[in-house]
């Protein structure tokens, strides 16, 4: 299990780097029952060593990471709209919520799905986000080359999405649930799309970036919520 590191702001989170678990609330293991139900029972396992505390710690840590990244995602969105100019960022600004290939917002029925399925959807979205964030960063490097903090936040967001996605996959594996398995590398699809670019214009590029940053925030927040339901003592 990767060693824990302290919170370092929006930098420094790599795949497999864990945020230390927040101090325990001291609540009883009200949600531990659900975690136990999801753990696959391995008849070969040594009965004297219980995997449950290890799994709970992993869930707790991943939940903490998701909570931290939700905060960063909000900061990224604020920073992004600031650099695009009005009306981006104005209350009531509502550009068309056009679909982004390979990624959509969490469905309205997401919360009603079984835990493993929700986490699988979370992991899938988190793996689709990094190449999209990279595309947005390249656009912003052209449009706002002096916005160094924005560019750094976009770069960090891609890395953090990968890290959180890997952590969720690890939780799924520990729960004995099916993970995504090998899929075509999302970056390949994004690179191929970039090669077949159209001259769509700067305003659509700004809207795309807003959409991607919004999706990143939605999915990280969704992941935090889904993991929170598995944390012992978390909401039902």
């Amino acid at each position: 299990m990767p060693s824990a590191r302290g919170e370092q702001g929006s930098e420094g989170l790599e795949a497999g780097v864990w945020v230390p678990a927040t101090p325990g609330s001291g609540k009883g293991a009200a949600r531990a029952g659900e975690s136990r139900a999801l753990v696959s029972e391995d008849p070969q396992a040594d009965s004297s060593i219980s995997p449950l505390p290890h799994l709970e710690a992993k869930i707790h840590q991943t939940h903490s990471l998701a909570r931290l990244l939700t905060k960063y995602a909000e900061q990224l969105l604020q920073e992004y709209v600031q650099h695009q100019g009005d009306p981006f960022g104005l209350p009531g600004f509502s550009p068309p919520r056009l679909p982004v290939a390979g990624l959509s917002a969490p469905a309205p029925g997401h919360a009603g799905l079984p835990a493993a399925e929700r986490l699988q959807l979370d992991a899938g979205a988190l793996s689709a986000l990094p190449p999209l964030l990279d595309v947005v960063r390249r656009h912003q490097a052209e449009l706002n080359p002096r916005a160094l903090r924005l560019l750094r936040r976009l770069e960090d967001a891609a890395r953090q999405a990968r890290a959180l996605g890997a952590a969720v996959e690890a939780v799924l594996a520990a729960l004995g649930a099916e993970t995504r398995g090998p899929r075509p590398e999302p970056a390949v699809a994004a690179a191929a799309a970039a090669a077949a670019a159209t001259d769509a214009g700067v305003f659509p590029a700004k809207v795309l970036g807003l959409r991607v940053c919004g999706l990143y925030r939605e999915w990280v927040s969704r992941t935090e919520g889904d993991l929170g339901q598995l944390v012992p003592g978390g909401p039902a």
């Binding site: 650099h83 695009q84 100019g85 009005d86 009306p87 981006f88 104005l90 600004f93 509502s94 550009p95 068309p96 919520r97 056009l98 679909p99 982004v100 290939a101 390979g102 999209l132 595309v135 390249r138 656009h139 052209e142 449009l143 706002n144 080359p145 002096r146 699809a189 994004a190 191929a192 799309a193 970039a194 077949a196 670019a197 159209t198 001259d199 769509a200 214009g201 700067v202 305003f203 659509p204 590029a205 700004k206 809207v207 795309l208 959409r211």
Partner: protein, 425 residues
């Protein structure tokens, strides 16, 4: 107000917008899934314009059912709705806009011109880039730290305000041969600076210039020609020590070490000392320290804390005839002069240690006197050391006299004793 289309120069200077991944975004012209099927296209898309010029734009609506009317459409610019009189319906599906005397863009990513449907929903957008071409950068200055690198700084023309992203590129080449090179490490000592870290030749002139480029054009500075050896600077002198000179109340001794990176080349180096009283912001500068590594400050106030700094100019390095560039000041070093009853004079001069005469007028005359004495008198042991000892003795005896005056008692005219409080400690 001028009215017309953007000039051909502005249009030809337009940079193509960054390409968008085809699969990643449905262009704002494709059918919208959420609120009807009306879409639009704005023309021109992302124009570049001079400040003060005019723009005529159109928003053409495509929709279902065909022939969707342009009535009810409106424009916003940077989120603010534009006055209706600036728009007119060209035909059933096209709304036109005429803007005159444009101001510079509010943000470098472009002003957001948006076409809205009657219900306020966004149909299309275009980003305007309104600004000025760059003016010639000027006032290039460069320096080399220890002959190992070159850092240059410049001033952008028109104070840099073009309202457009303007790229500055520092170029350099050897004067007599070689190709143009481009500096790569920017913003090292401010927004308009660049650092060349290595591979620089000595004893041969370089030509250096700055090119500024934005969407509306480019400009080039005058060429600066220099030899690296003529613009050398170095580190501040390390190990600056300030100490008292025995009991002398108005003097402090300052010692330092030559900057190590150039210590083998600094035989003609110059040094400067500056010092100030602890609670003052006014520095006094001692300019005439030549190539020594020690100095004595005289004429100081007794019982006072002084901050002292030293800097170095590697003048004459490798035979350079140019002035050289002063290093930064060393970190301040503090010391205090011994206390005295008698306030010292406020002036300062640098007196070298070891009895070497300085250029101060008192000591110059004293030197002449001592020289005459050695010739014409029998005082062969006279020296500055003896003179300093005499001064210390004088100050000590003066203090003792003052103590006798203020301590104990002194008789009054009527014979009664009067107690006097001792000095404050």
């Amino acid at each position: 107000m001028p009215a017309g289309r953007p000039g051909p120069a502005a249009q030809s200077a337009r940079r193509p917008p960054p390409p968008l991944p085809l699969l990643l975004l449905c262009v704002l012209g494709a059918p919208r899934a959420e609120s009807g099927a009306h879409t639009a296209v704005i023309s021109p898309q992302d124009p570049t314009l001079l400040i003060g010029s005019s723009l005529q734009a159109t928003c053409s609506v495509h929709g279902d059912p065909p022939g969707t009317t342009a009535e009810g459409l409106y424009w916003t610019l940077n989120g603010r709705r534009l006055a209706p009189e600036l728009s007119r319906v060209l035909n059933a599906s096209t709304l036109a806009l005429a803007l005159a005397n444009l101001n510079g863009s509010r943000q470098q990513s472009g002003d957001n011109l948006v076409c809205h449907a009657r219900d306020g929903s966004i149909l299309a957008g275009s980003c305007l880039y309104v600004g000025l071409p760059p003016e010639k950068p000027f006032n290039i200055s460069c320096w080399s730290k220890n002959m190992k690198d070159l850092t240059c700084r410049w001033t952008p023309g028109a104070h840099g305000e073009t309202f457009l992203h303007t790229n500055y590129s520092l170029k350099y080449k050897l004067r007599w041969y070689g190709q143009d090179n481009t500096c790569e490490e920017y913003h090292t000592v401010g927004p308009h600076s660049c650092h060349i870290p290595k591979d620089l030749a000595l004893f041969t002139p370089y030509e250096i210039w700055v090119e500024a480029t934005n969407r509306l054009g480019s400009a080039r500075s005058d060429v600066l020609t220099l030899d690296i050896l003529d613009v050398v600077t170095t580190d501040p002198p390390p190990d600056v020590h300030v100490s008292r000179v025995g009991g002398l109340e108005d003097q402090l001794s300052v010692r330092w070490v030559s900057p190590p990176a150039l210590k083998d080349f600094l035989f003609q180096a110059k040094y400067q000392i500056r010092y100030r009283v602890e609670d003052s912001v006014d520095w006094k500068v001692v300019d005439d320290v030549s190539n020594q590594t020690s100095c004595r400050l005289a004429g100081l106030k007794p019982g006072t804390v002084y901050f002292v700094q030293v800097r170095c100019n590697p003048f004459g390095i490798y035979g350079s005839k140019k002035a050289g560039i002063w290093s930064e000041w060393s970190h301040p070093t503090a010391a205090s002069t011994p206390r005295s009853e008698r306030p010292g004079p406020g002036g300062g001069a640098c007196e070298p240690r070891g009895g070497e005469p300085s250029s101060g007028p008192v000591r110059r005359e004293l030197k002449q006197f001592l020289g005459w004495l050695k010739k014409h008198a029998y005082c062969s042991n006279l020296s500055f050391r003896l003179y300093d000892q005499w001064r210390a003795w004088m100050q000590k005896t003066h203090k003792t006299r003052n103590q006798h005056r203020t301590r104990g008692s002194c008789p009054r005219a009527d014979g009664a004793r009067r107690e006097v409080l001792p000095d404050k400690l």
